[in-house]
Amino acid sequence: MEKFSTLSGIAAPMPLVNIDTDMIIPKMFLKTIKRSGLGGNLFDEMRFDRQGNEIADFVLNKPAYREASVLVAGDNFGCGSSREHAPWAIADFGIRCVISTSFADIFYSNCFKNGILPIVLPQDQRDALMKDAEKGANARIEIDLVAQTVTSSDGDVYTFEVDSFKKHCLMNGLDDIGLTMEKVASIDTYEVQLSAERPWV
């Protein structure tokens, strides 16, 4: 997994609330058995018409935001299904950070497993960054995971919370399975106890 420590990039504003995983990656793209290559279909139904032409006023089609690496989004981003295709598509497009007031649970944890940092900020701070993002390509937002700060293009600094274990894994690009394997003795012990206490499991 790609490591994440700091990021300086263009932020695309997506103020819509409840952006769901069907919007992020429509189901016809779930038929792949690979993880890669989904970025071309990120937000497909909002980004392209049925003939596959770009819809000019969709934010990521505007010249200013084609290289965006941050999304500033409306409340409850990523609700809906558990499909990890959503963060795969986001990462494949080149977005490494999403900022909102709230995220759906499963999406939130899926982000960390794919090198994406989801940041929760209070509404006024998110709104300020949304305004910032609306300025286009000149407004770069800086994210520092080590210090847990977001800095707007005007130099306003906001701090955010992140679980220390998730932060550690994201900063070091650590694979969860490898980490858990180091604790295999605890799992072995648990299983012995389980077969005594709840043999029907």
Partner: protein
């Protein structure tokens, strides 16, 4: 000992390891697998030379994109990419030695219907699946939730999940439901009240007379949509209804094992003075047959309501509602019962069980669907289908003009060819009314099975109470 909630008790019984910061390795009792979210996980195992740690606790069934047409045995009916996914699941199940119900098996169906039906899901268990509607299994007093593909791989390899504990939320529904009001109306009304983010960070325990009065089928419907309310999981304490459902199922314990199991299950309830981080209470009498009008499951109203105006909302929701009304082709002030539909879908892990089909058939008996209506029933499993045929329900549906399909997810998410065309409007018993969920530019109104049947007859969203 300090008082605990049901969630606390199940959680505590499954912690295999705890770090100083509260991050736990939670042991997983049942891992359900389907064709869409698992191929990359198995690929990951192969690449790293890992195996499935507990193949005996791992159950796979293809459901999301299998055709539900009667001729599906003929491989031609499946698109190339769907077939690749189903073939991959076949191969992965074989290679890794996990339990498997192929399309040709009568027990095949939607993973969340098959698990309980086969007795895989039992009280007090932890159940996960790469699918958000895993919440369904909470109906058994199991801690059940959806996971992403990386976590699927993690569970395959280690039989654990890295988790931090959620908060406790209690949703109490007191009193008795009025006639024509179902479990679906309960769960939709709760989301209408709390919003799609209302449950974020919580595990919800549903309780109260209206919940304990429900059958297991109804309880599964309620828990199924906990995820639409944003919760990590929904859960209902096991009781005599639960035990009666589980007893005798192929993978339920037998004899002395059953007694031992039940003795433990009987300790699984929230203690009287347990701490709740949030409590929501509703009266069953206040719940009416409900329907969604927008593109979020929180956009729900009683059937006798009118389409709301965007201005009646606040914040970002104003624009979201404008967009939703435009997408749905509706105008503020329009009566919900004036909305004409052209498609009816009865099925899904929310409402594809035998009781759902009975409820719909009771309304349809001796009636015909409106001319020009496309109506389909997709039973949740091959066994539900067989039982419905035996009970004569299939004939009622067919006589009324419904298509009688094979089991699968079908038009719930429209990954197979069962889709809405642009602008088509569907009364659907599924769980999501997102833009494009049932087909590009398709319009979805979520309803109960009885309400779907009523709509099929009149061609409009209809108050089922007028037909009873």
């Amino acid at each position: 000992m300090s008082p605990k909630t049901l969630y606390d008790k199940i959680w505590d019984a499954h912690v295999a390891d705890e770090s100083d910061d509260g991050t736990c390795l939670l042991y997983i009792d049942r891992h359900l697998v389907h064709e869409v979210t698992s191929p990359q996980a198995f690929e990951g195992l192969r690449m790293t030379g890992r195996t499935v740690r507990a193949p005996d606790k791992t159950i796979a069934v293809p459901d999301h994109n299998v055709p539900t047409t009667l001729d599906r045995a003929n491989a031609e009916t499946m698109t190339e990419d769907s077939r690749i996914q189903v073939d991959a699941l076949d191969k992965n199940a074989k290679d890794f030695g996990i339990h498997y119900y192929p399309v040709s098996d009568v027990r095949q169906g939607i993973v969340h219907i098959v698990g309980p039906e086969q007795g895989w899901t039992l009280p007090g268990m932890t159940v996960v699946c790469g699918d958000s509607h895993t919440a369904t299994h909470g109906a058994f007093g199991a801690l059940a939730h959806g996971i992403g593909t990386s976590e699927v791989e993690h569970v395959l390899a280690t039989q654990t999940l890295i988790q931090k504990k959620s908060k406790n939320m209690k949703v109490e529904i007191t009193g008795k439901l009025n006639p024509g009001v179902t479990a679906k109306d309960i769960t939709m009304s709760v989301i209408g009240k709390t919003g799609t983010a209302g449950g974020t960070g919580y595990v919800i325990e549903y309780c109260g007379d209206a919940i304990t009065d429900l059958s297991m089928e109804g309880r599964m419907t309620v828990c199924n949509m906990a995820i639409e309310g944003g919760a990590r999981a929904g859960i209902i304490a096991p009781d005599a209804t639960t035990y009666a459902y589980c007893k005798g199922r192929p993978h339920a314990p037998k004899g002395a094992q059953w007694d031992k199991a039940q003795a433990w299950w009987e300790t699984l309830f929230s203690d009287d003075d347990a701490h709740w981080d949030l409590v929501v209470t509703m009266k069953a009498e206040d719940i009416a047959p409900s329907v969604t009008w927008g593109t979020s499951p929180e956009d729900v109203l009683p059937i006798d309501g009118v389409v709301p105006a965007p201005e009646s909302f606040t914040g970002g929701k104003v624009d979201a509602v404008k967009r939703a009304l435009d997408y749905m082709g509706l105008t503020a002030g329009q009566k919900l019962t004036d909305i004409e539909i052209d498609t009816v879908f009865i099925g899904s892990c929310t409402n594809g069980r035998i009781e759902d089909l009975r409820a719909a058939a009771a309304i349809l008996k001796g009636k015909k669907v409106k001319d020009g209506m496309r109506a389909m029933v997709v039973p949740g499993s091959g066994l539900v289908r067989a039982q419905a045929e035996e009970e004569g329900l299939a004939d009622i549906f067919k006589d009324a003009g419904f298509e009688w399909r094979m089991a699968g997810c079908s038009m719930c998410l429209a990954m197979n060819p069962d889709q809405l065309a642009e602008g088509e409007r569907c009364a659907s018993t599924s769980n999501r009314n997102f833009e494009g969920r049932q087909g590009y530019k398709g319009r979805t109104h979520l309803v109960s099975p009885a309400m779907a049947a009523a709509a099929a007859i009149t061609g409009k969203l209809t108050d089922v109470r007028d037909m009873m």
